[in-house]
């Protein structure tokens, strides 16, 4: 234990769901000022809920059942509403796991940033805006001034995440709870963002509770770590000790599950490409609103890529470089403004209905933001089973069986009856994956499919991908920032920057001998756990 008085002290916390089940059971840990504590653990183990409980912002239906959460010695769970409001934002800041849905779609970024600032500090609007711009710049948003007037939907996933982070750190809270803050960020940006956080701890003595799956990050930045499994505390101690000398088997499996370079993949048979982009370009009509002239934004500027059957191509690249946009355009969800897509050798520009339909059904997408891609009014089983509608000749029972099978494979057996809102971030992501692969499509664009998954589950999912590929030979474009994950599934890597491909090649070539400076920088910035994995 640290010598100083802990800033946050969670004692024997239990969280119950209305039905009586506990999702968090008897966990205790401390966070001292100026300290970075990592909270790791399996997806769905209750990390997010424990963090939310510290701000008393539990979703409806989840109640603290026992225990205390002391902030500066005061129990958060019994404080008055008034006191809590004073605490939130200024004292305890929280970066939410799902940045996509955590920004108000109807408010400009500027308004959302300034709002909290002006609430806790006496600042003029100009001063507040200055501070906001400054912070945006620090989290690597280019053109921060222009960004103030834009709405959330006009940003890429990573950009939104950085805006979220900026909005929280702007307030310089005493305790920063960061729930998977960098899942959508490329390694370079990730490093920058974490540096800002570390800066804060140094200059302001801010304590950070960092929830993450990225053990590399943990090993590089955190002092202590807490490991959860299924709502129970497994192990806690200094990072050094836990990572290098894990006491518990669960911790060990977690570390062992770190993705490894997968050597010995069978070479992909030379074949005609399954899907091919030729000079694909995508332009967004306007980032301006309808009262000011719209400025078209070219997000993808002529990208060519061919994917053969059974091949897995990884796209890496900076946040906002156009990966998602390209992925969506590739499977025809987004209209392209130039170039063409060929599927099974036929151009989809002006294809007939049957071809369109084949294309549509054969190409699936795992959305980068799983939460908003799940219909809030449908149960998980129904969401996952929906693509089976297009599988003729399946009986109801067969369908249910398939759904059960795939849910089991992604580790969600028994969750079929839940609604999306009652899942953890990682669980939602797995739902999205299950939905995309249930019909064994010929081609999948997986947009950050494992970003919210802990190492064990991530491994499970990556294994699933590989298995499916081996069994059905589906091709896949795998968009990820996680070079570890990339190295374990991909045959080929494509590096994007600014809407263009800057480098592409074999996994091993790129990882071992990057040529483009940007690629080099990306690789260099990747945090490693510093142990022989």
């Amino acid at each position: 234990m640290t010598a100083t008085q802990p800033l946050l002290s969670v004692r024997n916390l239990r969280l119950d769901v209305s039905s009586g089940v506990s999702i968090v059971n008897d966990i205790s840990f401390d966070v001292a000022p100026g300290e970075i504590v990592a909270l790791v653990g399996e997806s769905g183990s209750g990390k997010t809920m424990a963090a939310r409980a510290s701000m008393r912002l539990l979703p409806k239906g989840i109640h603290p059942g026992a225990g205390q959460i002391l902030f500066n010695g005061k129990d958060v769970l019994t404080a008055s509403d008034e006191d809590m409001r004073a605490l939130r934002g200024a004292q305890i800041g929280m970066i939410f796991q799902e940045p996509m849905v955590s920004l108000n779609p109807a408010m400009t970024i500027g308004a959302q940033l300034v709002e909290g600032l002006r609430l806790h500090e006496k600042l003029s609007v100009e001063q507040a805006l200055d501070r906001a711009v400054d912070m945006l710049r620090r989290v690597q948003i280019n053109d921060p001034e222009g960004c103030l007037a834009a709405f959330p939907h006009q940003f890429s996933g990573g950009m939104r995440q950085r805006i979220m982070i900026a909005s929280v750190m702007l307030l310089k809270p005493k305790l920063l709870i960061a729930d998977e803050p960098t899942t959508a960020l490329d390694t370079l940006t990730q490093r920058e963002v974490i540096e800002v956080m570390v800066d804060l701890t140094r200059s302001q003595g801010t304590a950070v509770l960092l929830i993450t799956h990225n053990l590399g990050l943990v090993s590089q930045y955190a002092q202590r770590m807490v490991v959860l499994e299924r709502g129970k505390l497994v192990e806690t101690g200094s990072v050094e000790q836990v990572l290098h000398h894990p006491r518990e088997t669960y911790t060990r499996t977690l570390i062992d599950a770190l993705p490894k370079r997968f050597h010995g993949r069978p070479a992909i048979a030379e074949a005609a490409p399954l899907i091919e982009a030729r000079n694909l370009a995508v332009t967004f009509a306007g980032a301006g609103n309808m009262f000011s002239a719209a400025q078209p934004k070219q997000a993808v500027k002529g990208v060519s890529l061919a994917v053969r059957p059974g091949e897995a191509v990884a796209i890496v690249g900076g946040s906002g470089s156009g990966k998602t946009t390209f992925g969506r355009a590739l499977i025809g969800l987004l209209a392209h403004s130039g170039g063409e897509v060929l599927f099974r050798g036929k151009s989809m520009n002006g294809a007939d209905r049957a071809q369109q339909r084949d294309y549509r059904l054969s190409c699936q997408l795992v959305f980068q933001d799983p939460y908003s891609s799940l219909d809030p009014r449908q149960k998980i089983a129904s969401i996952v089973g929906e693509p089976l509608r297009h599988e003729p000749g399946l009986s109801r029972a067969q369908k249910a069986e398939r759904v059960q099978e795939i849910l089991d494979e992604v580790g969600l057996g028994g969750f079929g009856d839940r609604y999306p809102h009652a899942l953890s971030g990682g669980q939602r992501q797995r739902v999205a994956i299950a939905r995309a692969v249930i019909r064994n499509p010929a081609f999948v664009v997986a947009d950050e499919p494992v970003s919210a998954l802990d190492m064990t589950i991530q491994k499970q999912v990556l294994d699933l991908f590989r298995r499916l590929q081996a069994r059905h030979g589906f091709a896949c474009v795998f968009i990820s920032h996680d070079l570890g994950a990339v190295s374990s599934v991909a045959d080929r890597i494509v590096v994007m920057e600014n809407g263009l491909i800057v480098e592409e090649g074999d996994v091993d070539d790129i990882l071992d001998h990057p040529t483009h400076p940007y690629t080099k920088a990306l690789l260099e910035a990747a945090p490693t756990i510093g142990v022989a994995a």
Partner: protein, 270 residues
């Protein structure tokens, strides 16, 4: 089991009472609701006549009971008609957009701008004055409102990512519309439908003035209410009785509507 939500409890009770009233009238009323008693006109409530008598000496209780079934029939069918047609067209209009949307908007604006009085008179010519006529006239008059409300919600809902996800799976536009857009637009429709219920009951009273109402002497709450107008001071119970019936029915239906909406909303913790 958990305690049912208060809105379900109160709403359910009120609606049950009203339905019971309507059902009772089929078998029994204290007096013949149509029988005049010219010696007993506008009597205040008494033991003999619980809620008094109207300007023709007819028993108010009996007429209320019978009126319940008449009013409910008209209201239910009108709302069903308007909601069904309005929702379908609104979905199409908001989802498909383009020329279809424009044409539907042109027609709905035209109907909206059309006064109910004229529409009713016109339909009277076609249908003759009967219950079908009322339902059709009011149904047509209210459909565009539903259409607009649904369209508005659809415009928002169709931009959601789960709608895109449905398309990505390969679902047809039609299926996506029904399965993913529609359920996420129900809240305003439920509100509108339950509110409309009241409007219809009241509008029927206006129509009976034109002869498009339920033909006399059969009572509806609406025409009882409008007939009671000159007696507001002299015999207030004449207006109060149907007025309260309408109010309580509406309250019941609205609360029930809320309960229903909650039920449809998975995020609502019960």
């Amino acid at each position: 089991m958990k305690r049912p939500a208060p809105n379900l409890l109160i709403g359910g009770t009120l609606v049950t009472v009203v339905l019971a009233m309507a059902a009772t009238a089929l078998f029994w009323t204290p007096y013949d609701p149509m029988a005049l008693n010219l010696r007993a006109r506008t009597l205040p409530p008494s033991e003999l006549y619980w809620l008094g008598t109207d300007e023709f000496g007819r028993d108010v209780v009996s007429r209320l009971l019978l009126g319940a079934s008449q009013s409910l029939t008209v209201a239910i069918f009108t709302v069903l008609l308007a909601v069904a047609v309005g929702t379908i067209l609104g979905l199409i209009s908001g989802y498909v957009r383009g020329i279809t949307d424009r044409i539907l908007m042109v027609v709905s604006d035209a109907v909206l701008a059309f006064p109910g009085t004229l529409l009713a008179l016109g339909l009277m010519v076609i249908m003759g004055p009967n219950t079908m006529g009322i339902i059709l006239a009011l149904g047509i008059a209210y459909t565009p409102s539903v259409l607009r409300i649904v369209r508005g919600s659809v415009l928002s809902a169709r931009e959601r990512e789960y709608v895109e996800a449905s398309r990505a799976i390969g679902n047809s536009e039609f299926y996506t519309m029904i399965r993913h857009v529609l359920p996420n637009c129900v809240a305003p429709v439920v509100v509108l439908a339950t509110s409309m219920f009241g409007w219809v009951v009241l509008a029927e009273s206006g129509l009976s003035f034109l002869g498009l109402g339920v033909p006399p002497p059969a009572p509806t709450w609406g025409n009882m209410l409008s007939a009671a107008r000159p007696y507001l001071e002299r015999a207030p119970w004449l207006g109060l009785a149907p007025g309260l019936c309408i109010a309580f029915t509406l309250l019941g239906i609205n609360l029930l509507g809320d309960a229903l909406r909650d039920r449809l909303d998975p995020r609502m913790e019960r």
